[in-house]
Symmetry: C2
């Protein structure tokens, strides 16, 4: 181990909580416990000192900087932090773009990087001409301008939206080699603010037969899906705002339906119509898609809730370790069933596990950041994370998921992800 | 009252909790209690129906929409939602830009709209060449590349940053007439993620005499301030990320010091140096600025903690009521002393008050959104909000604040804000 990595070599004092170097999640919280023992990456001593030129005022301190801006943008040096676009060749603006989860930290995804799923592109809607209609099995059909809706009482809810098809490369026979976000990044987390749908349903007065709402978007595809009235009343939101500002065009401007914890396709963008109905509409996106053939020959459909899931974002595929020593293994966990109760991490491919620290506040149907210190000894290792939610739902190993769902799986892939750290410090995706 | 506003006129059933029409904060949470009684703005009945053309597919549903983007931007129709720039004529890029709090909802401020305070512009820093130096009264002077820091354990903290000079137009003899955010918007709230400063101080090993840290930024002004070591150890963060992505240039790229709940000037941007010292540096920004002469002739300095404060963002100055009827009065509250315990709202200029609902989760030193329903009867009214934090700190009336601080006040203005709603529905800022 180099001096830079471990300094005074206090490793024996640090409690190992699982195989292959996982350390107690509270290690960094023990006040004073680290003093002098943990030179992680900070550099001391003669040979490593920065040059006088580096410590003297660099170029950017010698001239006045750029002036103010009305609306800021990311740094030029961060131009590589982007949504990765996978569009279908055959249909205009049909496809997805992936959120770069491996480049992000914390739990909020900035609006510019929230994943996209479009069926026929992003409509350029004039908010002054957009309407929301509530009709069907109601006592009073109603319609709303966006200005009408803005006057209603609102609520905020920080929650994830995840495409039912997220991570579906996991069904492939061989592990896909791509960055974590470009494999699992059809999920993002925002603070959504808008009008509780229950309020408007009360105003319209649903009839006794109204068991479903058919939601339709104002895009060229006229995306429609069916949502049980019970869930719509429970916590659905007509969102006008995302992370403080108006929802952006690719996320549904001027109005998006948010159905916390449920399949992304239900969170209809550019929402124009809610029709109360006795039956689901049996639209393309709930029959031919988002429905799967099981080994038994039966079809699995209306699988609304997104199951417990987690992902180590760092270290992760495509990254390079900087040499043996102490690292923080960190990632995201989420579940549509409620709060994350625990995330366990393994550094020996799942033989032994240790609980990671969860960043507070832990909110229902929301990204939860987990962290655990790891002393990597420089030899090959396999990292895994496993989420458990408040209902006791545990993220399955891949073999178990494939056995349950069979080889026709496409949606709702939530298996444990394994990253192999090589002795050369390179990281690959493996099925292990 | 028009039919559109009140419908079946169930107002007598709604509990009035304070003068001039304030209603119970739980009104909208009573399931089913509104059924048919509250047509707020939704439109029913023949005369108001949208035309066939409006309900048929509008233009944007008839052609494929725009394609995917690597990094999204706000809608073209929201171009008016901007930071308002107030730059000093005499010095290059010296001044502020104001966050448009009146246009926002929820508690997160998107990065593009976070307020700015620059002394000499935004430096264009190459992150590969930027260094953080920790030196002075330490056992081991250390320096770090940004890559070094990224390997350290991190924490996230959602908190506000507020300029000590925010709202200082409140000291003027006459009430300024401008939008709420362009008066009180030198404050913003983000999820900051980075390395706990305590970890690095432990590594460097502060000597017994080290009571202060002198923090310096890498801008042309070389902004420096002094921070007590005790606070630095308690919860300061070396932030690399803001709302998930790397901190943006105008917010300190690649590294910002976050000192939760304390004066904005301490949250040094473009952080390059932390010098442990026995005494404060007595820099320009802690002596001639951010220090005030009191009526007693004594100076008030090192007033680090931002006091309890609140602001009604809607309805607010410059907005126009849409006619008598039900409204949601909403705004933001925050305190550097910890959590917001209560926000009271008055619709009669402070004679009677009612508690607003607070959006969960309520976090320390963080924006807290408050809401209360209000039936405006169409006559003149004065709206106020008053925050109380967990330490019992209560936001003062303006008269009391001016009496305490005198006419030389400039910083730390946190008085109650009054908006006058005219019988014509127009809203003005008043001292009342």
């Amino acid at each position: 181990m180099s001096e830079r990595d471990g300094g005074a070599g206090g490793h024996d004092d640090r409690e190992r909580v699982a195989g292959n170097g996982l350390l107690d999640r509270r290690l960094f919280l023990k006040a004073g416990g680290l003093s002098g023992a943990l030179l992680l990456a900070g550099r001391a001593g003669a040979g490593d000192e920065p040059t006088l030129l580096e410590l003297a005022r660099p170029a950017w301190m010698r001239t006045p900087g750029r002036t103010f801006s009305n609306y800021g943008q990311p740094a030029a040096h961060e131009r590589g932090v982007i949504r990765w676009i996978s569009a279908n060749a055959g249909i205009d603006s049909n496809g997805v773009s992936w959120c770069p989860l491996h480049d992000l930290e914390g739990t909020i995804v900035p609006n510019g990087l929230h994943f996209e799923r479009h069926h026929n592109g992003v409509p350029a809607i004039d908010p002054a001409r957009h309407r929301l209609l509530i009709h069907g099995l109601v006592a009073r059909p109603l319609w709303f301008t966006m200005e009408d809706l803005a006057r209603y009482p609102m609520v905020s809810r920080t929650c994830f939206v995840e495409c039912g098809g997220n991570s579906n490369a996991g069904w492939r026979q061989r592990p896909i080699q791509t960055a974590a976000g470009y494999f699992h990044g059809l999920v993002s987390c925002s603070e959504w603010t808008g009008v509780p749908l229950a309020l408007l349903l009360d105003e319209a007065g649903l009839t006794r037969d109204a068991q479903w709402l058919i939601a339709e978007g104002a895009d060229a595809f006229a995306m429609d899906v069916s949502i049980p009235v019970e869930k719509a009343r429970e916590d659905a939101i007509l969102a006008l705002y995302q992370n403080g500002e108006r929802v952006r065009p690719e996320n549904g401007y001027p109005l998006r339906l948010i159905v916390p914890g449920w399949e992304g396709v239900l969170n209809v963008k550019w929402l124009r119509r809610l029709e109360a109905s006795a039956e689901p509409v049996m639209a393309r996106n709930e029959t031919s898609r988002y429905t799967e053939l099981l080994p038994s020959g039966k079809a699995r459909m209306f699988t609304f809730v997104m199951d417990a899931k987690s992902l180590i974002t760092s270290p992760s595929a495509g990254m390079q370790m900087r040499g043996p020593g102490l690292y923080e293994v960190k990632g995201l966990a989420w579940s549509g069933h409620g709060r994350i109760r625990a995330v366990d991490v393994s550094a020996d491919g799942g033989r032994t596990w240790a609980p990671a620290a969860l960043q507070e506040p832990v909110l229902p149907a929301c990204f939860t950041r987990f962290r655990i210190p790891w002393h990597w000894d420089g030899s090959a290792a396999v990292l895994k994370s496993r989420a458990t939610d408040q209902t006791g739902n545990v993220q399955p190993e891949r073999d178990a998921l494939v056995a349950e769902r069979g080889r026709h799986g496409y949606f709702h892939y939530n298996a444990i992800v394994a990253w192999q750290v090589g002795a050369d410090g390179r990281i690959h995706h493996v099925y292990a």
